[in-house]
Symmetry: C2
Subunit: 194 residues, 2 copies
Amino acid sequence: MVEEQETARRRGRGARERILAAATALFEAQGITATGMEQVAARAPVSKRTLYLHFPTKDQLVVAYLRHLVEAGHTMESVLDRQDLPPRQRLLELFTVPDPGAGPIRGCPFIDAAAEFPDPDSAVHAYTRQQKQRFTERVIDQVRQLGAAHPAALGEQLAILADGVASRSMVFNDPACGKHARAAAAALLDAAIA
Amino acid sequence: MVEEQETARRRGRGARERILAAATALFEAQGITATGMEQVAARAPVSKRTLYLHFPTKDQLVVAYLRHLVEAGHTMESVLDRQDLPPRQRLLELFTVPDPGAGPIRGCPFIDAAAEFPDPDSAVHAYTRQQKQRFTERVIDQVRQLGAAHPAALGEQLAILADGVASRSMVFNDPACGKHARAAAAALLDAAIA
């Protein structure tokens, strides 16, 4: 009986993970609004009943997709966790555009999602704002640890540069702008720490 | 006869303008993919036949909408045309987020459109890339006129900051990040011109 419950739980968790993997692949390849719930169910694959048991609305699926990116470390924020790098280097690594693998370079998933859900009060847009706020606070915290003057302003400037790189490398499908942002960030850091 | 042709031409042009105005309002309020051609026709208002006579595909309508923003001066690039401002001030004005009026702050329409059309080879994504390239070249040109060292790198850095502000002010629905980017841009300009 316990074993049966365990099997059911595993199967349930497997379905949730498959749904999130399918949603991630489809949202990244074609955009969120362009992706229907039926397409997610077909790709997972799960029945529509199972999909709606896990995610009663598409908004809930989109927020879960964004949260999963954070939890799995698939965001630019994850470089701030790299203990193998000194703090200054960690901040400068924000400007290395990750290799997209086979497909085109994608933008920041939070900016993209906010653009697709323009109402600032919608659940999806509100989640992207929380995440951006959290990311910015982490950057400010690392800037403060470096002993920089005006850490709040400088941290915001580095976050603006990082978001600009994410958007532009997606538009150009070219990571080259990252090195210019990194040089700007290094100059701003140097001026604030001198 | 000439008068009839003239009336028909005016009516035709009126329909095109109404379609573009309707598309702009709907794309900005709810996103591009979320907006159907039928909705655009209903809002314009024009018959679907008239809509498809002017724009045989949705891609053509989206590219025309983006081009119209540029031609009508409804982009951040338009501050570079302001002859009432000295060149340095013009560049710093890139970081003033325009008052959105009644609705929420919208992001850069070219970044948003590129995010909704992820394929870099699609007509819409390609148009956004051309426009971003043109904008960046204009910024570089103004930086060069100021006598700054390394104008190409500095112009790219200012464009990255401007795009970061556009995306973040949309996510936060708050123009406050503009002043931080302006301070960073001023510091980078000062260092390059000294």
